[in-house]
Amino acid sequence: MTRKQRRAAFILLTVSVLALAVFLVAIALRDTIVFFLTPREVVERAIPPGKRIRLGGLVAEGSLKRGTGMQVEFAITDKTKTITVSYIGILPDLFREGQGVVAEGKLDAAGHFLADVVLAKHDENYMPPEVAKALKAQGVWKDAGKGKRDVQP
């Protein structure tokens, strides 16, 4: 093999690995990402049932109902629109009414959200950043937690 051929072999290897990577990234970014939406955005954009999304907002006051076994139901609100959520399993340690929460799952045909993951981070003043941002953008966010504690969990 000449120097040129050797170089060509390595360039071919690098280019093909890179091409494969770009291809995989493109597919993965198309198929696997999950959008984060507030209840209002869900309604406005008419998200179809079955599409996997993250729904974020505050747990509506007085909405938490425990069903039989581990069935729980609550509502996520951004103070303009509210969506009911059902979930089977253990709620996070700091799940409270009036606190920020993110649920991942999909809508059913009736516009009810079936969550398989519920996230509420481990701090009483914690608001998932996506929620805080979305609520701020909609003008319903009060800086209640600020100044008390800037250490995030």
Binding site: L24, F35, R66, M70, D93
Partner: protein
Amino acid sequence: MIVELGHFSLVLALAVALVQMALPAWGARRGDRQLMAVAEPAALVQLSLVLFAFLALMHAYITSDFSVETVWANSHTAKPLIYKISGVWGNHEGSMLLWVLILALFGAAVALFGTNLPASLRATVLAVQAGIAVAFLLFIVLTSNPFVRIPPQPQGRGLNPILQDPALAFHPPFLYAGYVGLSIAFSFAVAALIEGRIDAAWARWVRPWTLAAWMCLTLGIAMGSWWAYYELGWGGWWFWDPVENASFMPWLAATALLHSALVMEKREALKVWTILLAILAFSLSLMGTFLVRSGVLTSVHAFAVDPKRGIFILTILVVLIGGALALYAWRAPQLQPGGLFAPISREGALVLNNVLLTTGCATVLVGTLYPLLLESITGAKISVGPPYFNLTFGLLMLPLLAAMPFGPYLGWKRGDLAAAAQRLFAAAIAALLAVVTTFAIMWRGPWLAPFGIALAVWIIVGAASEWATRVQLLTGQAGRVWHRARGLPRSAHGTMLAHLGIGLTLLGIVATSAWQSERVVAMRPGESTEIAGYVLTFRGVAPAQGPNYQEQVGLFAVTSSGSPVTELSPSKRLYDAPRQATTEAAIHAAIAGDLYVVLGDELKDGGWVVRLYFNPLVRLIWIGAVVMALGGGLSLSDRRLRVGAPRRARRAIPSSLFTE
């Protein structure tokens, strides 16, 4: 008083670092030995000053001096001593101080052990190292001063309870040692570019430092993952969280760097690439620090959300990385190209390793930064989760893992693939057997999983058989085997162990991802439930009092085929300060896997929600990481690689068998 002295000492350290940055670099350019000689004492003085500042802060924590803001905000008198100490770096200000302390430690180590480096190279390396120190000391002094006084407070606010944990007490120091250790490779690369000269000796100096950093990074990441596994109570060990990625990317780059430095050391090839990799590895460390500390990503690690700090770190990032890359673009073309090699050779295999590792690293980078990018451009908020990383990074690692056992069998310059394949016959048979037996035992579950197991077995047996061939374990006489094993360079044992460790980790990952069982059940006291052959009987929940928390402890009796195995007590804790709830999982570890129990919410009918997992072979993930780090340590102890000993690295063993 001690606090003020600490603050003063930190500012002095900044002044010393400025001197250490300027004078030796200038001296190296002018060939002035006296100016160059400033570097070593300056590095040692800088270390003493930063160490004093760090100890002063630690003293404030241990004595619970609540007139210091960071102590007040992060400590509490009722906290056990170890967490008072780990509280020093359990917050933004202190952790940056730890970062600089480790940086100064590495700088001083170069000054102490680098006595046989060419004087101008050593002076330039120490000057670059000091430049990094200046940037971060300025950052601390101007935006994140840990010594700020406030009116004395009666009591502190305490450390976040999920951080009050032994594994997490040592996770940051190890991770930082890894991040910052890569700064040495960076400084050497920049110095080589400034000097315009680079050779095999350069790689021999750089490799031990990179190896040490890589070991720390491996252990640090493993500790973080282990902590997440038992503390967060989800039974998961890796979440592809941006902060995890921030530590994983430097690890990938460091792994690539280790291998390319090997080529450079033995064959003087891949010089330009190795330099670039050294710059990139530390850049990724810096980016990790930026991502984690700036508050761009809000998570367990984002201690403070302060835009001023973010912009400051971003500036450091741009200046250091941009400067180094500009220097690279300017000087790298002038470096002499190195030796030739055929595509099928040890070098060729290591190039494949590098191409795949860096491409894999790039896909992780894209997945980590894409949501930030998309949000700043379109405003859409997305999350990129495990499916993305499994599809991109996971697939790219497959060829790397499959090719890994071939590497050590291929000769330098020109290798014989057929001969290597022949020697891997045993590994291939083992892998085949693994597929068959796995299908036979675990016929339920994903059909790809047995092939994953086979890949892991292929790597493990491949690594072990390469070693066995070299010591003639099966063909030689018993006495000779020991002799040969002793005669083998330690780095050869190290390579074997590190590759074996990868195989073990992979085995754990595949097994636990494919066959994890999870059950969520409601249980009343007296009821039993079954998972993976274990029967758990719920005995009830009792309150208990800890040093700084109250808890509700569940009690479960575990039996397996009728005979008692153990009792498990998962609990829910409520800490006093800060008032915060945590879930403590209870884990029973057996050879086959972990039984993992989490206590959930109390139900209205007196029952409790209980979450049970069985994670098969999950421990191998961390055991593999420890084995990898052990391999690194063994390599590091190799006479030829010892820090500061590269001069004695002439080929001591003539046999071609030992030319590792």
